[in-house]
């Protein structure tokens, strides 16, 4: 699974991404997969037709309050974010494998730097395509080894996406030739898992980067040299004003290079003339512009002028038109301004956490499956999506995302919400397990032997619930859940807190992280996004003792099923696991909002569909007359 956050390094990358969405406020809306693909998900003026032109400058609005500020693609924990990777580094430096193909979060072989990996037992062979760096040297297997050596040397402490790769799974790496690389794994792994969650992290680095302040170094061949090289590159990446002309950062293999970089977020890219990929940029330039809030961005969208015009922007949640049932989008408020509206789901799931390790005395209650199921029946996902989300969201059905619909999702998962809103069932579960349900009052345990081990007679269903403030639809969701629970005598003591405080408290496994466990339920609002480990296999989120297993759910059967997904390439292993785990409720599933609802200028083609991995390929964009 992805790293999180925030936007937060999944928990690095995942959290980070979500944070982005939350903080910016532009994000947080999610679209059902069926409605996302191609032009069928569009509204307003048609964006088809016209004659393709070469040149022009397309302008993309950055998410609110975010600006790229770290160009080195071997991104440290401090700086890993959607903004730094998707809006900057990935445009300049191409990863070994690109994920995001149309509206699917799958590997895109066409624009990957390497051909599909060839697996043979515990050995994998990677053949590089003919890509060139902008300084005239080819992209070689040694450039890949350069990355792997650095990850071996400093990944554990300095690489934000670190999962233990390659050291924990790879026993041998060999550059057979300038274009061929082989890896020997400690056992045969699932090909999908190895490609989507391990090889997905690699970005070849040019030899020009293998240096320190003292001069050229040898990280490509000597791992012990890598720490110093990393320190030098990290320092250089903090010199924002040097990005454009830096002898390091100006060596690119992506379709774009920087022509202007302002630390306030105004960035201009121009085509890299030596780009080796299949689609060369048609635009003369691609600009990113910053915004303080989504409201200010929307003002510019509504009132474009010569100096302030946006070709790809987004609509704030509060300004979104409600989406009618069975429609892909609502009536586009900017159709008359020449824009087409498209919602973009994010490849991830959303949940609030229940703390199995709570020290408040409620841990024994939370460990009871019937209680979690009763609570799940009180979350009205459909109503939240139809109401506060105005239709731009998807139901979380388990540990694998339901939007967009992928082959990773089991047939059972495709059937929808496993716990549709049903207070009657919830009440029945409680009363049949020894609880004296007092509607509107305080439900207490009447028969401890039925309530469950560790639950005391008279113990109330009363829980503290810190949550991150700042996102209107989520606050409405919490209020609704609180009200639904109160109707069965369950008291949720909602505690609004800043995002950072909630993540610091509840986004990590409190026992493993050795931090206080004195909370019952929590929600930082971001859930989990699958990037840059794109296969939703669950080892970092749901296994016993995993740091991102925030609630401390632990089940040996679940662990065995997860292990099976890591070694078995068949999707059936993934189906078996998710079908087992979804009703176990290791986290409490809640709606996943779309990342954003985009407005795309009708005379700019090639933008849609954007990828649910949140990557951009502006080399595909072109203006029409």
């Amino acid at each position: 699974m992805g790293r999180a956050p925030e936007h937060e390094r999944r928990p690095r990358s995942r959290l980070r991404r979500r944070m982005l969405a939350v903080t910016v406020g532009a994000a947080a809306l999610a679209l059902v997969a069926a409605g996302c693909g191609g032009s069928s998900g569009s509204s307003g003026s048609s964006s088809t037709g016209g004659t393709k032109t070469t040149g022009g400058t397309a302008t993309l609005a950055l998410p609110p309050s975010t600006t790229p500020n770290y160009v080195f693609p071997f991104t440290s924990s401090e700086f890993i974010s959607v903004t730094n990777s998707d809006y900057l580094a990935l445009l300049l430096y191409r990863p070994l494998y690109w994920f995001g193909q149309g509206s699917q979060p799958t590997v895109n072989n066409a624009i990957s730097v390497a051909d599909p990996p060839i697996f043979n037992g515990n050995k994998v062979t990677i053949n590089l395509k003919h890509y060139m760096w902008s300084n005239g040297t080819p992209v070689t297997a040694q450039n890949v080894v350069f990355w792997l050596n650095m990850e071996s040397a400093v990944g554990a402490t300095d690489y934000g996406a670190y999962t233990g790769f390659p050291n924990t799974v790879v026993t041998g790496i060999k550059a057979v030739s300038p274009t061929e690389l082989t890896m020997t794994m400690n056992k045969a792994y699932s090909q999908t898992w190895f490609l989507y969650n391990e090889l997905s992290q690699i970005t070849p680095m040019p030899t020009a980067w293998d240096r320190t302040a003292a001069g050229p170094s040898h990280c490509t061949t000597t791992i012990s040299d890598c720490a110093a090289v990393y320190a030098y590159l990290d320092t250089q990446s903090k010199a924002l004003s040097s990005y454009v002309n830096s002898p390091l950062w100006s060596v690119v293999d992506g379709p774009w290079k920087l022509s202007a970089f302002n630390a306030d977020g105004h960035i201009t890219f121009v085509p890299n003339k030596s780009y080796s990929g299949p689609v060369k940029p048609s635009l003369a330039a691609f600009q990113e512009v910053p915004f303080t809030t989504d409201t200010s961005e929307y003002s510019v969208l509504q009132s474009p002028s010569g100096a302030s015009k946006i070709d790809v922007g987004y609509v704030p949640t509060e300004d979104l038109p409600a989406k009618p049932a069975n429609a892909a989008v609502g009536t586009n408020p900017l159709a008359s301004k020449g824009y087409t509206m498209n919602p973009l789901p994010v490849w991830g799931i959303n949940y609030y956490v229940v703390n199995f390790q709570s020290t408040t005395g409620n841990g024994p209650i939370i460990k009871q499956l019937y209680f979690r199921q009763a609570l799940a029946y009180l979350m009205n996902q459909a109503a939240v999506i139809a109401g506060p989300l105005k239709g731009y969201g998807s139901i979380t059905v388990g540990p694998v995302a339901s939007a967009p619909v992928t082959s990773f999702l089991s047939p059972k998962g495709k059937q929808g919400d496993p716990f549709p809103y049903n207070p009657t069932k919830a009440k029945s579960l409680l009363t049949s397990h020894g609880w004296n349900v007092v509607a509107g009052g305080q439900t207490t345990c009447k028969t401890p032997s039925l309530c469950g081990p560790g639950v005391k007679a008279g113990q109330p269903l009363k829980f503290n619930f810190p949550y991150a403030t700042g996102t209107a639809w989520q606050e409405a969701e919490y209020t609704q859940l609180q009200s639904n629970a109160a109707a069965l005598g369950i008291k949720l003591n909602l505690q609004p807190k800043p995002f950072n405080q909630v993540t610091a408290l509840a986004a990590g496994n409190c026992v493993v992280a050795k931090i206080p466990c004195n909370w019952d339920m929590a929600d930082w609002g971001g859930g989990w996004s699958f990037a840059p480990d794109y296969a939703p296999t669950g080892e970092t989120l749901f296994k016993c003792g995993a740091i991102a297993n925030s609630g401390g759910y632990c089940d040996t059967n679940n662990d065995a099923l997860i292990n099976s997904t890591l070694t078995n390439s068949s999707n059936q292993a993934l189906y078996n696991w998710q079908d087992y785990l979804a009703p176990q409720l290791p986290m409490m599933w809640q709606p996943n909002a779309d990342y954003a609802v985009y407005e795309i200028a009708n005379n700019l083609h090639g933008v849609w569909p954007l990828s649910p991995t949140l990557t951009f390929t502006p080399e595909d964009w072109y203006f029409v007359k």
Partner: protein, 319 residues
């Protein structure tokens, strides 16, 4: 006068020191691990990364040691490094502060130019139609939240009648303010209208207080014209509290600038502070706090000095 100045400067330094101590202590009392807030929860699995962060930024030391270290850095002009923005606080402020100063400075000057005559007219025409009209407008703008006023201005002048840009000047440096000055009109108007309402009400009260003073009656008895009495005597004395008010209003105006900057996509210091607070970016919070505290204390000091210059009684009483 010298003794008065020395005393006020010493007081100002003490206030500044207290502000830094209180702010530093409050920030350190915020719950949650700073390394986790910055790097995300998954960093828990890398204790070495947390340790590296704490060591790098001094979080492994007692808070008072951190404070003294920070104070020593400030003395050298080093306000720290923003973890979130990957820039030194000084370089951030070098870009953002001039923009805020320009916005606040121009809007304050505009407000004074408009508010002083309005307040004076209101006092002279007390309880007449002009007084009631201006009173109504100043009450409306004084009560109106800055963000609402900003949004209304955008709706009317950028969207409904698109004659002005919806956002402030974009681009690096404060020079862009002058090359795209039309983009400054709405932000300045937004901030100035609220300030005009404040200043004009004070000016009205001040003129009313002075207009009944003995020296006015004396001037009238000597045959001075109404205009001369108003301009040479009443207005000059009435401006004394306004001078004080400007200094004391600085934090309030900066707060208003925060909202105005957000609404008009004008990345200044106020917005930087708000974002830093959201992301636990302590160096930025502390850096801006110091700058604003210095500005406030210096503003207050200058107001006191101006007051002393304008009104000799202050010097005599102080000494």
């Amino acid at each position: 006068m010298v003794v008065f100045l020395i005393r006020r400067v010493v007081q100002a330094l003490v206030v500044l020191l207290l502000v830094t101590i209180i702010t530093f202590a409050l920030l350190r009392m915020i719950p949650g691990n700073v390394a986790v807030a910055i790097m995300g929860p998954s960093v828990y699995r890398d204790p070495a990364a947390i340790k590296l962060f704490d060591t790098t930024y001094g979080f492994n030391k007692p808070w008072y040691s951190q404070y003294l270290l920070w104070l020593a850095h400030i003395a050298q002009g080093n306000l720290g490094y923003s973890w979130k923005l990957n820039q030194s606080v000084v370089s951030l402020l070098a870009v953002r502060l001039p923009k805020t100063i320009a916005l606040v400075g121009i809007s304050t000057i505009v407000a004074l130019i408009v508010a002083i005559p309005i307040g004076t007219i209101q006092a002279v025409r007390r309880n007449k139609p002009a007084d009631h009209v201006f009173n109504a407008f100043s009450t409306i703008f004084y009560a109106m939240p800055a963000f609402l006023l900003g949004i209304l201005l955008i709706l009317v002048f950028a969207i409904k009648f698109p004659i002005l840009p919806a956002e402030g000047p974009q681009g690096a440096g404060v020079g862009v303010i002058f090359t795209e000055f039309n983009a400054m009109i709405l932000p300045i108007t937004s901030l100035a209208l609220v300030t005009i309402a404040l200043f004009s009400r004070y000016m009205r009260s001040s003129v009313l207080d002075n207009i009944t003073e003995d020296y006015v009656r004396t001037a009238k008895a000597k045959g001075a014209s109404e205009r001369r009495i108003l301009v040479r005597h009443v207005l000059r004395n009435s401006l004394i509290p306004i001078a004080t008010l400007i200094g004391l209003s600085l934090p309030g105006i900066l707060s208003g600038a925060l909202i105005t900057e957000a609404v008009f996509n004008y990345p200044g210091t106020g917005l930087l502070f708000f974002q830093a607070a959201q992301s636990s970016d302590y160096p930025v919070l502390l850096g801006i706090t110091v700058i604003v505290a210095v500005a406030t204390v210096v503003g207050s000091l200058l107001a006191d000095i101006a007051y002393a210059v304008l009104d000799p009684r202050v010097r005599y009483v102080s000494s």
